[in-house]
């Protein structure tokens, strides 16, 4: 494990085919790599470069720009506690301190058992539900310290496995388009005309 597996390469090609230029698939493929290995390995980045026609340095340049990509292993559960204004007004800092105590790690740290990594996150678009957090990008709203402890217990006991996959998997549902329905992505240079329906007549 490191380069993408055969199945994932097949999936990668399917994703690439949806874009007029394969470079556009870089971020989706990085997610795929992270789903495969739990983090993004150098081998995977080199492999992605081959698939989308970029140098490894370019792929790494893109990958390292984005928060979600990790370049060494993290806990099975990545807990992101929002610390931006709305959550801060509603006690995010207290929640973070509690979380640090409960898990026995500082922000950015991973518990000894490799189960949990704790991070401070920026605004998660749940500002009305403050303070909020995400576990592997699944939300928990208006979290009290007591509720946080319950959450950690449930996760550790595997009681939430159905809802929350291990770190690396974000969406469990993928876009799938059957060839017969797909119009097909065309490189921009191969298109010069207006779409057929732009002829002043109704399309139906």
């Amino acid at each position: 494990m490191a380069r993408l597996t055969e199945d994932n390469v097949r999936l990668a090609r399917e994703i690439i085919a949806r874009y007029p230029r394969s470079r556009s698939a870089t971020i989706p493929l990085l997610h795929l790599a992270q789903q495969q290995d739990g983090y993004v390995t150098n081998e995977a980045m080199a492999h992605i470069g081959e698939l989308v026609g970029a140098t490894s340095a370019e792929v790494y340049g893109t990958a390292s720009f984005y928060e979600m990509f990790k370049f060494e292993p993290v806990g099975k559960y990545l807990i992101n506690i929002c610390g931006t204004m709305s959550c801060a007004l509603m006690g995010a800092e207290e929640l973070i301190h509690h979380a640090e105590d409960r898990l026995g790690v500082k922000l950015g740290g991973t518990t000894a058992d490799g189960n949990f990594t704790l991070e401070r996150a920026e605004c998660q678009a749940a500002c009305t539900e403050a303070p909020c957090l995400q576990v592997n990008y699944r939300y928990r709203y208006r979290v009290t310290p007591a509720e946080f402890d319950g959450l950690v217990d449930d996760l550790a006991a595997g009681r939430l496995d159905a809802e929350i996959p291990a770190h690396g998997t974000v969406a469990r549902v993928r876009q799938r388009v059957t060839p017969d329905r797909m119009v097909g992505a065309v490189p921009p240079e191969d298109v010069t005309e207006a779409p057929v329906w732009m002829d002043g007549k109704a399309a139906l």
Partner: protein
């Protein structure tokens, strides 16, 4: 704690008996399914649109003046018209990167009514002659990605998306794309860079106005999720019905999220142009006042980037033409409320830290200045600052945004408003946004800083190093 699994109602979403355009299905448990969508007039707008020439639909959207809901508030129909004549292909990029502090609406629209968004995309592509649609969803929104993916799969299979939509001559692919955690990617040119597989660094406008030179260098329309979600309703009920709601300059409704120290923080679909901040914060059908009957100290009217308002601005309506002169902006419909117990410098820090952390690193003032502001401010917050630090905040701010920076009026302080917008030495608004909260806090609540710092005799503060 409420898990996102349960959807008896969208958490924090309150209905009330107001006209609803984009949230009409929210109370249904299964609002995200094709079945429910079809049972509630789903894809009727598309069917009607396809029965007419594209140009007529474009004219309708122009006529409805659907203001952009992403922050800039630019009318969608007009934006579509800015693409250069005869240049193809053209693309639609849907901005679902919602991450402006305080903003919470696009995620709901994607999780709760994905088909409505898809139908909106289809209508836009048909009307503006766009060859492919890219639906860019923020990376951290797992459920939104799943719901939209599932909806797209349903819609493709049922013939609403893809080859010959509804058996017509209109064919379009909608490609689901998702980010990986970078606020600045919400900026449209950065969004395009990101979609091209690059680091999400904004491009300079001009020359890179997406409508002219966008994705792959082609004309590209970037629209916000909520903006597009309005289109099916308009296509179904007509322009007149839409403009009958709200005001002439701000027709229809818009979603706003009110967070912070209110009794009922939540997301509300409100009538545009007429609803005031007082209605929202104190009205019973909305937030029902400040928690524990506390006093309102200040509020951010339009997302973390917006200069702050105080109770003196409560009676302003949701009307851009009135908010700008008052010294702020409506932005992304995010209101963050601070009661009298709020530690102002600390609150400002949570925003400045955000923008400093989210800087893409391209512009010197933002990359270096944002972090510098954050360091000085945290020093002050921790009681380790000096009065020279306060001056320094203004100095660094001046290097990011030269000249007068907008702020609200205050009779208490004898301040008159400096209108929006500001001048900036940066490419996009992230740099200035790191300074905005500091400038508001310092202008309106300076004593809270003064009381925190130790006095020193002044050290040089002009950039040339000369003492002043």
């Amino acid at each position: 704690m409420s898990a996102q699994g349960s959807y008896a109602h969208a958490p924090g979403f309150f209905v009330g008996d107001r006209p609803r355009i984009v949230t009409s299905r929210f109370e249904y448990e299964d609002s995200h399914t094709l079945e429910r969508y079809l049972a509630t007039d789903g894809y009727q707008g598309l069917r009607r649109a396809l029965a007419r020439p594209a140009s007529e639909i474009h004219d309708d959207v122009k006529g409805a003046t659907v203001l952009g809901r992403g922050g800039a508030g630019f009318p969608a129909g007009t934006k579509w018209g800015l693409t250069p004549q005869g240049v193809f292909p053209r693309y639609l990029v849907v901005n679902g990167d919602e991450s402006e502090p305080g903003t919470y609406k696009d995620r709901l629209l994607m999780e709760r009514d994905p088909h409505q968004l898809i139908e909106g995309c289809l209508i836009a592509c048909y009307a503006a002659g766009l060859s492919q649609c890219f639906l860019y969803i923020r990376g951290e929104m797992a459920l939104a990605q799943e719901r939209v993916a599932a909806a797209l799969n349903e819609a493709y299979a049922a013939g609403y998306v893809g080859k010959n939509v509804l058996g017509s001559r209109f064919s379009i692919d909608i490609t689901l794309h998702w980010g990986a955690g970078a606020y600045v990617v919400g900026e449209e040119t950065a969004l395009i860079e990101s979609l091209e597989g690059n680091r999400g660094m904004p491009r300079l406008k001009p020359p890179y106005f997406p409508a002219a030179i966008g994705l792959y260098g082609q004309p590209t329309i970037v629209n916000n999720v909520e903006t597009l979600a309005n289109l099916p309703w308009i296509a179904r009920n007509g322009v007149a019905a839409y403009t009958a709601i709200g005001t002439a300059t701000s027709p229809g409704t818009r979603m706003v999220a009110v967070s912070g120290h209110v009794n009922r923080p939540g997301v509300y679909e409100i009538v545009n142009g007429t609803t005031t901040f007082r209605d929202l914060i104190y009205g019973d059908e909305f937030c029902g006042g400040i928690r524990n009957g506390n006093e309102l100290k200040a509020f951010v009217p339009g997302g973390g980037s917006a200069p702050w308002f105080t109770p003196e601005q409560l009676d302003l309506p949701f009307e851009a033409s009135q908010i700008g002169p008052a010294g702020s902006m409506l932005g992304s419909g995010a209101i963050m409320v601070m009661d009298h117990t709020t530690d102002i410098p600390r609150a400002a820090l949570t925003l400045t830290r955000f923008y400093a952390h989210e800087s893409c690193g391209k512009c010197t003032p933002c990359r270096e200045g944002g972090t510098w502001l954050e360091r000085i401010l945290s020093r002050i917050v921790d009681g380790k600052g000096t009065d020279a630090d306060i001056e320094q905040l203004f100095e660094v701010g001046e290097s990011i945004c030269p000249g007068a920076f907008p702020h609200a009026s205050s009779s208490k302080l004898g301040l008159s408003a400096t209108p929006f917008p500001y001048r900036m030495n940066t490419i996009c608004f992230v740099g200035p946004s790191a300074y905005a909260p500091i400038h508001s806090a310092l202008t309106l609540f300076r004593e809270e800083f003064e009381s925190r710092v130790t006095k020193r005799h002044r050290i040089p503060v002009t950039a040339s190093g000369a003492s002043s």
